[in-house]
């Protein structure tokens, strides 16, 4: 229970914002300093990177690159979300499916399955489908695993309660099991998206020279390091902003105190 008064709370919040601002200044300052020395000819200054960033933002380079990256990413995540939820549900409810599926998912989740990415070209060429496949490949294990955990982590007391009050099978799943697991399932989608970013970028760097990955490759080949760093900066910024927003949304919808313990 929060026992802090409003003003104390406010003060703590301001000081944490101050620290955060200081921390950003510190990191970018170090970057600028390291670029000025320079630690390497391939390491640009922060200011040069930022001006390249603004330039690419203004002339639409980023817009067209991200249009190519986000499409397959969203399609891949959507496919995996639907498939993963079904797979997790089946594994969570049927002991046979659990026996068959769980070890495979655990192995896949622990393994460097990125190594399969080069093979995708043989099946799906270098287009949209290849990127979707790379996204699915990397994001599926965590999404399936979290759905499964969400489904199986229903507190026993709530299951007994639904039994005692005569819930039918579908009521038990729809009214107890799914709401109880929704927080974990949503968290799985967020983690899956994080993996999906890696999948999309890896596919763009390795097999399909398009999108943000191609920007990075292109500027590296031309030794335009401020532009290369700006492209890398943009994808990390984009990923962390979208993941943070998702996390905020998650905390708002599935507040921890509303989750079963």
């Amino acid at each position: 229970m929060a026992v802090r008064t409003q003003s104390q709370h406010g003060r703590i919040r301001t000081s944490s914002w101050l620290l955060r601002g200081a921390s950003i200044l510190l990191v970018f300052g170090l970057w600028e300093w390291a670029g000025t020395i320079p630690v390497s000819i391939a390491f640009p200054r922060f200011t040069d990177t930022m001006s390249a960033f603004v330039e690419m933002l203004a002339d639409g380079t980023f817009a067209s690159a991200y249009a190519e990256t986000i499409g397959p990413l969203l399609v891949g995540i959507l496919l995996t979300a639907v498939g993963g939820l079904v797979a997790g549900l089946v594994m969570g409810l049927s002991p046979r499916a659990e026996w068959l599926g769980l070890p495979l998912i655990i192995v896949l989740q622990a393994s460097p399955s990125a190594a399969i990415v080069p093979l995708i070209t043989f099946l799906y060429g270098i287009g949209f489908a290849a990127k979707v496949f790379a996204v699915v490949l990397l994001s599926a294990p965590v999404i399936v695993l979290n759905s499964y955990r969400g489904i199986t982590n229903t507190p026993k007391s709530l299951l007994e309660m639904s039994d005692a009050f005569l819930a039918k099978r579908w009521q038990r799943i729809w009214k107890i099991v799914l709401p109880a697991g929704s927080g974990l399932i949503f968290a799985g989608l967020r983690l899956g998206l994080a993996q999906g970013f890696t999948g999309a970028v890896l596919a763009e760097l390795l097999i399909t020279p398009t999108g943000v990955g191609d920007l990075i490759t292109f500027y590296r080949a031309g030794a335009d390091y401020p532009y290369m760093f700006a492209a890398i900066f943009s994808i990390i910024l984009f990923a962390s902003v979208s993941l943070t927003l998702l996390q905020r949304l998650e905390q708002r919808i599935f507040r921890p105190e509303m989750r079963p313990v």
Partner: protein, 272 residues
């Protein structure tokens, strides 16, 4: 229920002193868990209609197990449970359960939690919510309809659990240490509220507790179990006159003597 005649006889297991058919008849119940651990060893007792029967015994003796078997949540290894003349094969609409740890849905409001039993039975929203409002008022929860369980104290949470059980209008209430997670002062108030409510609603209650004082205070009949694997050690009818002030009941010699005699009996079953 205060007009029920109270007999102060120590009845043998399975007898009640009533010719009427009991609400619950438990016959020779045995439970063995996988791995050969025996929880119950041939338990038999009756829960008379319209009365409150409590089950008491050393901790871990299988009180909750027997209650969950009666609720149809756990299967017995052998023996049977007959409720209103029909053998129990699973949970049924004539029995409602109050859980020790409340078992409230953290994502649902008080109103939805109270109405949940009715929701599962397919009542329309209006109907189930008006019934729920009635029991919310009876449980002194008015004003908290839209609160979530995490915003309530332990005592209030259990009142939600009790309201949910009352709302489905079962004849029989099965209560698993309902006040164990509630602090002592609230618990006393609770016991008084429970008695008042039961005198209005005419239900048969089976009440599991580990508190001798609580059992004697609320019960018409007390089933004492031995240490696990549990057997019925004795069935006691405290026969306390509850017409007066609750404070006087707790000071009456009938109450104190009954508490003492159960303690003497239970002491034999404590672990050395």
């Amino acid at each position: 229920m205060t007009d029920t005649p109270r007999l102060s006889s120590h009845g043998a297991p399975g007898t009640t002193g009533f010719s009427q058919e009991p609400a619950i008849r438990v016959m020779n119940l045995t439970k063995e868990y996988p791995g050969g651990i025996r929880a119950l060893e041939g338990i038999s007792f009756d829960v008379p209609k319209g009365e409150l029967t409590s089950v008491i015994g050393p901790s871990g003796c299988g009180k909750t197990t027997s209650l969950k078997i009666i609720a149809g949540l756990v299967e017995a290894t052998s023996g049977e449970v007959v409720v209103n003349g029909t053998q129990v094969r699973g949970p049924g609409p004539e029995r409602a359960f109050v859980f020790q740890e409340f078992a409230l849905m953290p994502w649902a409001t008080v109103l939805r939690n109270v109405a949940f039993g009715l929701e599962l039975r397919g009542f329309g929203r209006k109907e189930r919510e008006s019934i729920a409002h009635e029991y919310i008022a009876k449980m002194n929860l008015t004003g908290f309809e839209d609160a979530y369980p995490h915003q309530l104290s332990g005592g209030m949470r259990q009142r939600v659990g009790l309201a949910r059980a009352m709302a489905v209008d079962a004849d029989i209430l099965l209560m698993d240490e309902p006040f164990a997670s509630v602090d002592e002062q609230i618990r006393r108030k609770f016991q008084e509220d429970l008695l008042r409510l039961l005198s209005e609603e005419k239900k048969s209650v089976l009440f599991v507790t580990h508190s001798i004082e609580e059992a004697v205070y609320v019960s018409d009949q007390i089933v004492i179990l031995t240490r696990g694997p549990a057997q019925v050690s004795n069935v006691v009818r405290p026969g306390i006159d509850r017409t007066g002030d609750p404070q006087n009941i707790r000071r009456s010699s009938a109450y104190l003597d009954c508490v003492e005699s159960i303690w003497v009996e239970l002491r034999n079953y404590l672990e050395e």
